[in-house]
Amino acid sequence: MAGGSNSVWRSGWLWAGLAVVGLALYPQFVSRYYIVLSTEVVILALLATSYNLIFGYGGMVSFGHAAFFGLGAYAMAILTKHYGNPMLVGLLAAPVIAAAFAFVIGWFCMRTIRLYFALLSLAFAQLLYVIVFQWYEFTGGSDGIQGVPRPEILASHASNYYFALAVTILCMLVMWFIVNSPFGWSLRAIRENTQRSQFLGINDRFYKVIAFTIAGAFAGVAGGLYALFQKWADPELLFWTTSANPVLMSILGGMFNFVGPSVGAVAFVALREIIKVRTDYWPLVLGLVLLTLVLVLPGGIVGFVAEKARYLRSATKGGTQAP
């Protein structure tokens, strides 16, 4: 888990700072194609990290996270395009609306555990998908909402990237403090041993609903950014195949690490772009990668690297026993 000893903690901030500087300077050196792609990666990293609050930290397997992403996107699209609100109103409303739905859905879902939790979250998300798909007057039905207006300041691709990056970093910081707060540690305690945490006086269902709501809110922010960046919102954003993506990124990068899902988002988009120029069969490759991953590398990329690093460290220290 993130955290640990003091020196690791400090070097963690050092690395994070370097990463932010790198991400800020990087658009100066690459073509527009990479800037557009990076904007998508940044937003997907936010989505995946928000999902990992409940998946990695809370131990809850939700298959309906796309619902909150989609609700955020529609909140942005409808408020700015149909009601003429400024972009910031949309971006603030997105998490509020997503969180409101997440609270209600989470409250019902927490009545069930494990597999049935996954099923119920999927059912709720599909219900919202069908409503968005059919409510033509309000959501544009299967056409979605095209032409989400962007403020002048976000006209260029680079400014879009910087805006998405800034919002994402802000959200990541908040999420980092949440997972390292007493609340975050209680959530891990519930994941590890629900009964013991109940004995300690933790109201596990309440904590889980709150975590679900927070995750929904940040997914809503990601959705709002996505609508702004793509200039559209369509029902596909709420579909269950979209819900699979943050699960996949968390697994790909490693769910037991704060930055794992972000690494997963980078790997996911990079892989997709590499494959798509060579073949039409991107889903096939994705399927094979996913299958290999769950069969061979359940810790994800970051988990794998961390484990190898631990082995190396113990070897250089002359330790005979691997942890």
Partner: protein
């Protein structure tokens, strides 16, 4: 639309046709879950493969007997694919967490979707019902296709056959014991991996059978895997995962909701279906006939 008795009977018959296909597919899904405790997300892909194999056999062989050949060949072919999945993938992850199983079978959806596209192309295909079952009968003064009656009859025969398999055969006894406590059964010297394989192959066979039977009812194309998966999933969950009577009841409910819903409020039908699932899951998370998760 006038609501005379003929219309109502016709809607019920249409609902039963839909319910029959749903039951056959959901029965496989629920059987596999009951014994293996795995939700096979690729179940819809197996159904789609069944339909495409059937289309190839019917169009390739041609003639009067081709449909009957497809009715035998396609489920067997899909059963074989099921054997490969069980052996290559599922066998390694029975002990893993649900999310690993869900993701592995989700990966199979993506893989099969593209494989079907590679083999059969992205165009829609259609086949017609065999000549013996072509025409229609008059029910309540309205024409009703004979083929639909054939599908309903098949579902009823299959329900009876499954009941016999589970409650009147040696394999069925072992399956019921495996549902109760597979570890104990293994300790008694029963070859559990073989039972798991048999059950998964039977489940795949049922998906394939559903695919053949649905082929003459509509067009065969990519995407039918996901739509049937979601519907069969709703049926199995409403009835209770692992329960055959539940799948039968769930299929009936959803079939009727489709046929009446699409007539009364076409845009709301699908939303009502999911709403029904949400309500059942909230009140009885393990479904109408299921048992709470252990």
């Amino acid at each position: 639309m006038t609501w005379d008795i003929g219309t109502v009977i016709l809607l019920i018959m249409a609902g039963l046709t839909r319910a029959s296909i749903l039951f056959i597919v959901a029965a496989g899904l629920t059987l596999v879950f009951g014994v293996l405790r795995v939700i096979n997300m690729a179940h819809g892909s197996l159904y789609m493969i069944g339909a495409f194999v059937a289309a190839s056999v019917i169009q390739g062989v041609g003639g009067a007997g081709s449909f009957w050949l497809a009715l035998v060949a396609a489920p067997l072919a899909v059963g074989l694919v099921g054997a490969v999945i069980e052996f290559g993938v599922l066998r390694r992850i029975y002990q893993a967490e649900h999310v690993v199983q869900l993701l592995a079978t989700y990966a199979l959806i993506l893989i099969f979707d593209d494989l079907v596209k590679m083999i059969w192309g992205a165009e829609y295909k259609s086949v017609s019902a065999p000549a013996a079952l072509a025409g229609s009968l008059s029910i309540g003064g309205r024409p009703f296709p004979v083929y639909n009656l054939f599908v309903i009859a098949w579902a009823l025969i299959l329900a009876a056959a499954l009941w016999l398999l589970i409650y009147r055969t040696g394999l069925g006894r072992l399956i019921r014991a495996a549902v109760e406590d597979s570890e104990m059964l293994e300790a008694l010297g029963v070859n559990i991996p073989r039972i798991f394989s048999s059950v998964f192959i039977i489940g795949a066979f049922l998906a394939g059978l559903g695919g053949v039977l649905v082929a003459p009812l509509g067009s065969i194309g990519l995407g039918m895997d996901v739509s049937i998966l979601i519907e069969a999933f709703v049926v199995a969950v409403i009835g209770g995962l692992g329960s055959f009577p539940g799948a039968l009841l769930g299929a009936g409910i959803i079939g009727m909701m489709f046929s009446f819903g699409i007539t009364i409020a076409p845009r709301m039908a699908m939303a009502f279906v999911f709403l029904a699932m949400v309500i059942v899951l909230i009140i009885r998370p393990w479904g109408l006939f299921g048992e709470p998760e252990r």
